[in-house]
Subunit: 112 residues, 2 copies
């Protein structure tokens, strides 16, 4: 990021939120983070099974994006068959309080 | 919502999060809620000016969706020229702690 852009972004409270939503927005990213928070580490197929309705393309893209943005760790074990495990990074864990608020809010809303 | 669907949704922690993201996901909805939280009530044009890059279509659709889902109040004053003001409902205010976590997270991430 250029120095000027950086300056502009951190001085605009609106832009911080838009920046955050570029990383977190979309249908699947927060549900993926929530699943990883609940289960600590998960394999690709476990994640896929737990997220009803997600396609391989959406799961792969979401995981790549979350990994690139430092929210999710991807650890590959050299074995046959290959095993890949996903978990939250420290930066991902910082979002857990927000996930909990959103989860509780959703649950209240569904029950009323 | 049918009784069976309702039962299924509230018994699936994954579905609650997906349900919440159907309402909150997308690039603009949390930034709009955040702006309304900071400014209490805002007119359409104030919102538009404060959300750099948003189009009329995106702002109108996002506000309609947030209003339909009970997050945003829309109050129309019968005067010339007509005045419309938006603010957070109690349900919208419940999300503020999540918005604050996401905002602080975004700010930390931009500064590092």
């Amino acid at each position: 990021m250029l120095e000027d852009e950086h300056f502009e972004v951190i001085n605009n409270r609106n832009c911080v939120m838009i920046y955050a939503m570029d990383i977190l927005g979309g249908k699947w990213r927060l549900p993926i983070l929530w699943k990883l928070y609940q289960n600590k580490t998960m394999r690709y197929n476990e994640l896929k099974r737990s997220l009803v309705g997600i396609t391989n393309i959406m799961l792969t893209r979401s995981l790549q994006s979350l990994e690139e943005n430092g929210l999710v760790n991807r650890v590959e074990f050299s074995q046959i068959p290959p095993r890949v495990e996903y978990s939250l990074t420290d930066s991902g864990l910082e979002l857990v309080p927000a996930l909990e608020v959103i989860y509780n809010w959703g649950q209240d809303k569904i029950s009323t």
